[in-house]
């Protein structure tokens, strides 16, 4: 995947963030979304270690040692930022105050099941805050490469890995496509510039419904 393809999918995910949303960006690729939000855009980023109104990431030289996001990056406050304890932070999550969370994925299934925390026998560091974000944000989107490092589709008919949460994903952004999870399965909405619908269908393990007409590019 080229640098441009990666940036393009992150920028595409950023374009769906609406004014007034409260958004949690998961660790990894999703945290990069903040770089594509216009300055002064009215959005409130939440970080589960206890901040609403997360400001830009700072260099180590400018960092406040007591101010990190959940991924450990040193961040800055904005006018209106609030700090709170971990119970309050997850009260905000579980009671549905997050408009959107963007999460990474190992696998997403055709019915919206998400697996992003454990590969049995290989990787099992604990769930952190992902299960509550996946289950309780009002909209859950996944931002991930279309295929894993071995070239296998991450978008599958049924997850073989342990689930983070069932039927939670609403939309998937990859380096190849934008895909919605509907009651009737996955629907291809957009393909990345330079790719065709057949490229995406061929690279996807799960069945993709392709609406009639020209598929928009991003």
């Amino acid at each position: 995947m080229s640098f441009n393809a990666r940036d393009r999918m992150i920028a595409r995910a950023a374009r769906d963030i609406q004014p007034g949303m409260t958004v949690n960006l998961g660790i990894g690729l999703p945290t990069k979304v903040v770089n594509f939000i216009p300055k002064d855009f009215p959005v409130c980023f939440h970080s589960e270690n206890g901040i609403s109104g997360v400001g830009p990431v700072l260099s180590n030289d400018d960092a406040d040692r007591n101010l990190i996001d959940a991924g450990g990056a040193y961040v800055s406050p904005l006018p209106g930022t609030a700090y709170f304890d971990s119970a309050t932070s997850f009260a905000m999550v579980r009671s549905g105050r997050l408009s959107l969370t963007l999460l990474g994925a190992f696998q997403v299934a055709a019915n919206g099941d998400l697996a992003n925390w454990k590969i049995p026998g290989v990787f099992a560091p604990g769930i952190g805050g992902a299960v509550e974000l996946a289950q309780k944000a009002r909209k859950v989107a996944v931002l991930t490469t279309h295929c894993d490092k071995k070239g296998r589709s991450k978008i599958v008919e049924t997850c073989s890995l342990p689930l983070t949460a069932k039927s939670c994903v609403d939309r998937i952004y990859t380096d190849m496509a934008v895909i919605d999870v509907s009651d009737n399965g996955l629907v291809l909405r957009e393909v990345a510039e330079g790719l065709t619908v057949s490229d995406v269908v061929a690279a996807t393990d799960a069945k993709l419904n392709v609406p009639a007409g020209t598929c928009p590019t991003f």
Binding site: G50, R65, N66, L67, A91
Partner: protein, 229 residues
């Protein structure tokens, strides 16, 4: 006049016995009571059950206790940044209980609020529900989440007065005020020790009746600083 709870770090940590359960504040570096942990390593109490959000990184905080063989069980949400914790889990020498982060916070909060537990639907229909009692409430099925209390909580504060009214800084708050409510004995290390009345009553994050021992930190070791990655 309110009781003066200031004491020495040796005396405060000396109250902990082998086999006790100990909550540690902190999410990553901010809010981790490194000096209190260091003293616990020096005194060497064994067979501890430790409750902390994460296992810190190798060479920091909880890792000192793991390296020194003082931990029997760790209740946590995530250990991914500490290769030693992963290894000790895999070879079975430390028992790890994983709890979803907000459920961990709420189980601690419940203990601090004098409750026996609560019911939530987090993790339902996944392996997180394994071994948990199902409860039907208002026509919905949830999981019973028991409160987590502990013999001790070790807490890091930005400022404290002699009665143990506390304030925290930025994201160093995290689990600290919750754990300060949930343990039988609460030991606080503070960066700034202030006179009674210096913190305005409205500005107190954790009221003194929850805390038991206050230790003033003289210098902050480098481990509290910005992590150079």
């Amino acid at each position: 006049m309110l009781l003066d709870k200031k004491t020495t770090i040796e005396e405060a940590i000396g109250r902990i016995k082998d086999g006790d359960s100990v909550m540690l504040g902190g999410f990553g570096v901010p809010g981790t009571p490194f000096c209190l942990i260091q003293e616990l390593v020096r005194q060497g109490q064994k067979d501890l059950t430790v409750i902390k959000n994460d296992a810190n990184e190798k060479g920091m905080g909880v890792d000192w206790l793991l390296e020194n063989g003082q931990v029997r069980k760790l209740i946590t949400s995530h250990i991914g940044l500490n290769a030693r914790a992963v290894e000790l889990k895999n070879n079975g020498s430390v028992e790890i209980e994983f709890v979803a982060q907000g459920i961990l916070a709420e189980r601690v909060r419940a203990a601090g609020a004098g409750l026996m537990g609560f019911v939530s639907d987090i993790g339902i229909d996944t392996e997180f529900a394994d071994g948990k009692q199902q409860v039907e409430l208002n026509g919905k099925v949830g999981l019973l989440e028991p409160a987590i209390n502990a013999d001790f909580a070790l807490v890091h504060a930005q400022s404290a007065d002699s009665f143990g009214n506390l304030r925290f800084s930025g994201t160093a708050m995290n689990f600290n005020p919750l754990m300060a409510m949930a343990a039988d004995t609460v030991i606080v290390e503070t960066e700034s020790y202030v006179a009674l009345g210096d913190i305005q009553p409205e500005d107190i994050h954790c009221p003194g009746p929850f805390t038991d021992a206050i230790v003033e930190l003289s210098d902050l070791p480098e481990v509290y600083g910005v992590v150079q990655r």
